[in-house]
């Protein structure tokens, strides 16, 4: 019992229940409870959740990555351009995008660990550079800011099965989300590398003194995060058979929020992958629940803000003790 109470994701779990109950009673009649309704918020949660899982691990390792949003745009555009302009196979294009993502992640990690600059600043720089380069290159090549026609790409069908098919009304991305959450949770809690992540974030100097290769751990997490962003880009590119340069804008903040809702500390060293996944679920439910409830979109942000602070408060209250190290 005490073990359960001590888990960082407990708050998020209660938050999920609270938010669900709220919308079920308030907007249940309008389809929130229907299978189709559940499918819409689970789809949002699954994509955000994939990212939040990686982001929460990176945050536990003590770093931020603000460039994931523009990474989604960059990867999606890479896939679309390669397929649409050069007629590449979709799979080859996805592979190139993944390599690009890993390279940017590596670069982020190297700069952060070498220069000891705050990752907030470095990855903000990456955000600008990536997003600018995506716009620049796309407009240079196509004269537009959106590229479509992926449906005609080579091997589209197999990619669609894997990334954009549906099981009943539910998106296949939900399976990915569950799978990756389980895997990441196992890595974090049950492997040596997971222990190193906690050490690297909780007390980097101490961990280094004990022989943990802190820099390598952080770089690996930057690369994982970038790869997850690329995965989402792939989902969206395949599902929407194209990309635009604004896609993913703001996703970095949503992912960080989901991680925090899930009990991950902004300061690093403490957190939970499962919690981040649940945080994403809260996010998805709020986002769609507002639509189901028919809240005037003028007031949407007010609602979101109140729900957000409310969820974090419930979270903290349930966890019983306030986080010690803050910010």
């Amino acid at each position: 019992m005490r073990r359960i109470l001590n888990r960082p994701e407990l708050g998020a779990a209660c938050g999920v229940v609270a938010v669900w109950l709220f919308f079920a009673s308030y907007a249940g009649g309008s389809g929130f409870l229907s299978q189709a309704g559940a499918a819409t918020y689970l789809e949002i949660a699954s994509e955000l959740g994939l990212l939040a899982v990686a982001v929460s691990m990176l945050m536990i390792a003590g770093e931020f990555d603000l460039s994931v949003g523009s990474m989604i745009a960059a990867c999606g555009m890479t896939i679309s351009l390669l397929c649409d302009r050069l007629g590449w196979s979709l799979w080859a294009a996805i592979a190139v995008a993944a390599v690009l993502a890993l390279a940017v992640g590596l670069l982020n990690g190297l700069v952060v660990t070498r220069t000891k600059l705050p990752s907030f600043i470095v990855t903000l720089g990456t955000l600008f550079i990536l997003s600018g380069a995506t716009i620049g290159v796309t407009r240079l090549v196509t004269g537009r800011t959106q590229v479509g026609g992926l449906r005609q790409a080579l091997h589209y069908a197999s990619a669609e099965t894997l990334f954009a098919s549906r099981i009943g009304v539910f998106s296949v991305s939900i399976l990915w989300w569950i799978g990756i959450t389980v895997l990441a949770s196992w890595v974090l809690l049950r492997t040596r590398f997971g222990n190193w992540i906690f050490g690297a974030g909780g007390a980097p100097d101490a961990a280094r003194n004990l022989g943990v290769p802190v820099a390598r751990v952080k770089i690996a997490m930057f690369m994982t995060t970038a790869l997850c962003a690329c995965l989402i880009a792939t989902f969206q590119a395949v599902k929407f058979t194209g990309s635009d340069v604004l896609r993913g804008t703001g996703k970095e903040l949503e992912a960080i929020l989901a991680a925090v809702l899930g009990g991950t500390l902004l300061t690093g060293g403490h957190g939970s992958v499962l919690g981040a996944a649940l945080g994403a679920l809260i996010f998805g439910m709020v986002q769609q629940g507002i639509v189901f409830a028919g809240v005037d979109s003028d007031w949407y942000k007010v609602f979101l803000g109140v729900m957000l602070v409310g969820a974090v408060l419930v979270n903290t209250y349930v966890r019983g003790r306030m986080v010690e190290a803050r910010r």
């Binding site: 819409t40 789809e43 800011t145 959106q146 604004l246 986002q287 639509v291 189901f292």
Partner: protein, 316 residues
């Protein structure tokens, strides 16, 4: 009352003229509107006023939704959610047919009558959308370019306050194409819509390059451009045109500080589809035209005074 219309929706979609409810008294209809324009955008706030007025006039319930940023993925999810609510009609804008086709098709397949507005004139038919209300951004831009070229300018600036928003890109492209056709040159200047000081000073800086004509894509940047011209003392020397109306823009036109404003009459883009859908739903009637163009209209010094009061009410 929810289940009733949804049960017969498929039939009415298959054979509108045979709608069972044809002669029935006016029912409690629900129409969903999903656009790509944020609630904070001046242009779209007029559309929304049109939607609301139409809802009141025809006694239907409407919900208006738009993503918080120009985000096609979020927009498709909003459509999904609305479709899950099984409305009696759906109004969408289609700035990116590729991204939205899946969600729009799903709505059509679910038997919901769909009308598109603003952007999507070229693709709406293929998606099973009944009707399009509005005009393409590119043509509006071309119109602006022709008007600007007619004043004799040679070096123009298109001030874009939201890079990556496909409809703004099209406006600039049309504008620059038209100016180029008339023998002029020009470039795009991107500014931050949220910071008028930034916009003003950027236009000021760009003016040093010998620009003699400016088109702004919305009132946010037109105010800043006006301030920049005032600061540089080049009011009247540099021609200024803008998209969309506000009281400030109109008084600027009256005072001769602005050359013209391109008016898409976006109020109608909000008003018409609601009325059309409610009529269609009740009586199965629909215009046969396909595209109902709402613009571009130009407001110039001669016509400004008439429009100014309407603009204050958020109708133009």
């Amino acid at each position: 009352s929810k289940s009733e219309p949804s049960a017969q929706a498929p039939q009415s979609a298959q054979a509108p003229s045979a709608a069972a409810s044809g002669a029935a008294p006016r029912k409690n209809l629900t129409i969903a509107v999903v656009t790509h324009g944020q609630a904070s955008d001046t242009f779209w706030s007029v559309v929304k006023n049109g939607v609301n007025n139409a809802a009141q006039d025809s006694g239907v319930t409407v919900t208006y939704n738009a993503p918080q940023t120009f985000d096609m993925v979020a927009m498709s999810r909003l459509i999904d959610a609305e479709v899950a609510k099984k409305p009696d009609g759906l109004v969408v804008s289609i700035p990116d047919a590729e991204a939205l086709s899946r969600s729009i098709r799903a709505a059509v397949d679910a038997g919901i009558p769909v009308i598109s507005i603003n952007s999507g004139a070229d693709v709406y038919k293929g998606l099973g959308v009944l009707l399009h209300v509005g005009q393409t951004e590119y043509e509006a831009g071309v119109g602006g370019g022709e008007k600007m070229a007619a004043t004799g300018v040679k070096n123009v600036l298109c001030v874009n306050h939201e890079v990556g928003n496909a409809s703004l890109d099209l406006r600039c492209k049309g504008f620059l194409d038209a100016v180029a056709k008339a023998g002029g040159t020009g470039r795009v200047l991107s500014v931050n819509a949220a910071d008028p000081t930034d916009s003003q000073q950027k236009v000021s800086a760009a003016l040093t390059g010998g620009v003699d004509g400016i088109l702004t894509l919305g009132p946010l940047s037109s105010n800043a451009a006006l301030a920049a011209l005032r600061q540089g003392g080049s009011l009247g020397k540099v021609k200024l045109g803008t998209f969309d109306l506000t009281p400030d823009v109109l008084s600027g036109i009256q005072g001769g500080e602005l050359e013209f404003a391109i008016d898409q009459q976006q109020y109608l883009q909000g008003y018409l589809p609601i009325v059309l859908l409610s009529q269609y739903k009740q009586f199965g009637v629909l215009p046969a035209g396909g595209v109902l163009p709402t613009g571009p209209g130009f407001v110039t010094r001669e016509t400004a005074s008439r429009v100014i009061e309407l603009s204050k009410q958020g109708i133009r």
